[in-house]
């Protein structure tokens, strides 16, 4: 087969950077597809096919690298890879619980019983079909050998492909078909018979949910090259698939069969299948369901004997898939990386916000410092002038204060002189710096002392007039009263 997109090496302009990239498991061929948003629509913009049957691993690797080499941007997006039905074991089981955690634990416990491998040798995922008998959950189990997955992952890793999900090719196809035929399919189950070159997948879906899957090892190549030999066996295998589905008692019988994939030269099987299964069959060519860019030729999407439908479906709707067969440790690593990225992102946001705030503060400080500088520059010349005036003002104040106190002592003496009666003799007059006045003297009688005291109290030149002591003594037979009076000079009371 001609390489599908060799004619177009460079990606067209106007692509959304969030490209979707998908690959099929590399078994007998390397298949890849890329989807991009073009003018608001998701379109298949690149398809790749290379038959590697009988070729060494290096050839597969080179083919993958060839596809990846077309654009660096696509590496960053991460890819989904599709596991074909013949590499997985599927089981329909019922679990007596509805709790997802409990269901997970029961599946892990029963894994050994459901497969010929130990739990560590397989990867298990499931699709919840629904609840029945109130407490039971119907599950569609998908089991794959871990070693097979790891070999594929190693190959893709070597080619520089970051694998985000591993899904079932038939499930991705189911999403695509359901979205295309939604109005016709409604709520009833339907079967998809997807024919590839050397195998066929028989899947039963309820809406876009895969509820049954069986692989048939006859494909378009056998049917077209040795039709007589393989056709009856093919029909027989399909019958067995229907019987197996009915035997599982999962859901109602499919209302329609969708025959798709490499069906270009197998359209005559429609009548045969209608007869065999008593079921309306709808043939769906890849070109009808896959939206592709104009430069992706129809022959690239629908080459003879090969189906590019599953890989195209995976890139168009792979993220909606319910199954992810990535190994648990890888899932954990991815989750941790994701969480690490989230933490780093959160840290970066916090740091950015913090730096932003710090920036605001620093700008604020800068503006304040600048304002202060301008203020100082503007008013510095005033300082010397103001200091000079202030000094003059202080001089004036000091002089006035000193002048205001002048005369107080003299006035106090004058007041004292005027208030001292003739029968009172003063022996000591003391004026202290704090303005307190002490007057000692002698009088003929106590009444003269108290009269003198009253006179001083009436004077506005003194305040707080009180007797400190009075004592009587006899001098030369005459009674004399010694006294001491304390008071304070009244500021501003001079002249009263």
């Amino acid at each position: 087969m001609k390489k599908a997109s060799e004619s177009k090496k460079k990606a067209p302009a106007g692509f959304n950077p969030k490209d979707a990239l998908s690959f099929d498991f590399v078994t007998d061929a390397v298949r890849a597809a890329r989807v991009a948003a073009v003018a608001g629509k998701r379109l298949v913009v690149d398809l790749f096919y290379k038959d590697v049957r009988g070729l060494p691993r290096e050839e597969s690797l080179a083919a993958l690298k060839d596809f990846m080499g077309r654009s660096v941007r696509r590496r960053e997006a991460g890819a989904v890879i599709c596991a074909p039905a013949h590499l997985v074991i599927t089981k329909n089981i019922e679990i007596p619980s509805q709790d997802p955690k409990e269901i997970e634990e029961i599946i892990n416990l029963q894994a050994g019983r459901l497969t010929p491998y130990t739990r560590d040798e397989v990867i298990i995922d499931h699709i919840r079909i629904g609840v029945f008998r109130q407490s039971y959950t119907k599950l569609f189990l998908v089991i794959i050998n871990k070693e097979v997955v790891q070999r594929q992952l190693a190959l893709f890793a070597e080619a520089g492909v970051i694998v985000r999900r591993i899904l079932l090719s038939c499930e991705a196809l189911g999403h695509l078909v359901y979205h295309h035929l939604r109005l016709e399919l409604r709520e009833a189950p339907y079967a998809i018979i997807h024919v590839d070159s050397t195998s066929t997948e028989f899947g039963v879906f309820l809406k876009d949910k895969l509820i049954f899957l069986r692989g048939i090892s006859i494909g378009a190549h056998q049917l077209l090259s040795e039709r007589e030999k393989h056709l009856s066996r093919f029909i027989e295998e399909l019958k067995k698939s229907f019987e197996a589905y009915h035997a599982e008692d999962i859901e109602a019988s499919p209302s329609v069969g969708v025959f798709t994939g490499a069906v270009g030269k197998l359209r005559d099987l429609e009548v045969m299948m209608l007869d065999a299964f008593r079921l309306p069959i709808k043939i769906l060519a890849p070109g009808e369901v896959v939206s592709r860019h104009d430069y992706v030729a129809l022959e690239t999407l629908d080459p003879p004997e090969v189906s590019m439908l599953s890989v195209a479906a995976a890139s168009l709707g792979g993220q909606e898939s319910g199954v992810n067969l990535i190994p648990a440790e890888m899932k954990l690593r991815r989750a941790l990386e994701e969480r690490g990225r989230d933490i780093i992102k959160a840290g970066a946001w916090v740091m950015t916000a913090f730096l932003f705030l710090a920036g605001i503060f620093l700008v604020n400080i800068y503006l304040k410092a600048d304002y202060l500088k301008r203020l100082t520059e503007k008013y510095d010349p005033l300082k010397a002038q103001a200091a000079e005036v202030e000094e003059a003002f202080n001089r004036v104040r000091t002089i006035k204060k000193q002048l205001a106190r002048r005369g107080e002592s003299l006035d106090a003496l004058v007041q004292l002189y005027e208030r001292t009666p003739i029968d009172v003799g003063l022996t000591n007059i003391r004026l202290r710096e704090d303005g307190s006045f002490t007057i000692r003297g002698e009088a003929d009688s106590m009444s003269a002392v108290f009269g003198y005291l009253s006179g001083l109290e009436e004077s506005k030149a003194f305040k707080g007039v009180k007797t400190k002591y009075t004592s009587k003594k006899k001098v030369q037979g005459q009674e004399i009263v010694d006294f001491e009076i304390g008071c304070t000079r009244e500021e501003g009371g001079a002249g009263s």
């Binding site: 954990l332 690593r333 989750a335 941790l336 969480r339 690490g340 933490i343 916090v350 913090f354 710090a358 503060f361 620093l362 604020n364 400080i365 304040k368 410092a369 304002y371 202060l372 203020l375 100082t376 503007k378 008013y379 005033l382 300082k383 002038q385 103001a386 005036v389 202030e390 000094e391 003059a392 003002f393 202080n394 001089r395 004036v396 000091t398 002089i399 006035k400 000193q402 002048l403 106190r405 002048r406 005369g407 002592s409 003299l410 003496l413 004058v414 002189y417 022996t427 000591n428 007059i429 003391r430 004026l431 202290r432 710096e433």
Partner: protein
Amino acid sequence: MNFSKLLLIHSRMSARERLVLYCAVAVILAAAADRLVIGPILGRARALDQRIRAEEEAARHNRRIIAEQDRVKATLATLDSYSKQAQTQEQEIANILGEVEQLARKTSLYLADIKPTGVQEDSITRRYSVDLNCEAQMEQIVSFIYEIETSGTLFLVDSFVISPKSKDSSVAKVNMKISSVIFL
């Protein structure tokens, strides 16, 4: 311990443990940020605010003072005779003692002794104190005080003790403390 191991430990934590961890980390980060970045920045901002307020207040004060410049200078001119500039301390003391002696003589006061008792200095003035002992009639003492307090020098009688020289004497003994202000 590398980052992925920490993440693994983190992923094994319960919701409650994570909440406590997040709260602890948030508190530690907030405290560190406060101590190392926010505190110093806010401290600097506050210091600048204070300096700006002080500068603005000083500018307002200076403007007010300058507005009074003419009035203050005119007042000072009228009081200029009192505003004597400082010389050396020895000269100042000699001048003060000389002037007090002259006033004592003028009022016929018998000056027994006179001595300087100290100097007090502030930012603009120097205040000298003089202690004197004298004897005189009461009228002479009053005249002396009057002369002192009407002198062209900023003299002031701070304190005095007056007592009769002896019983029934009209002469009084006086101990007086006089101060004088000189501008620096």
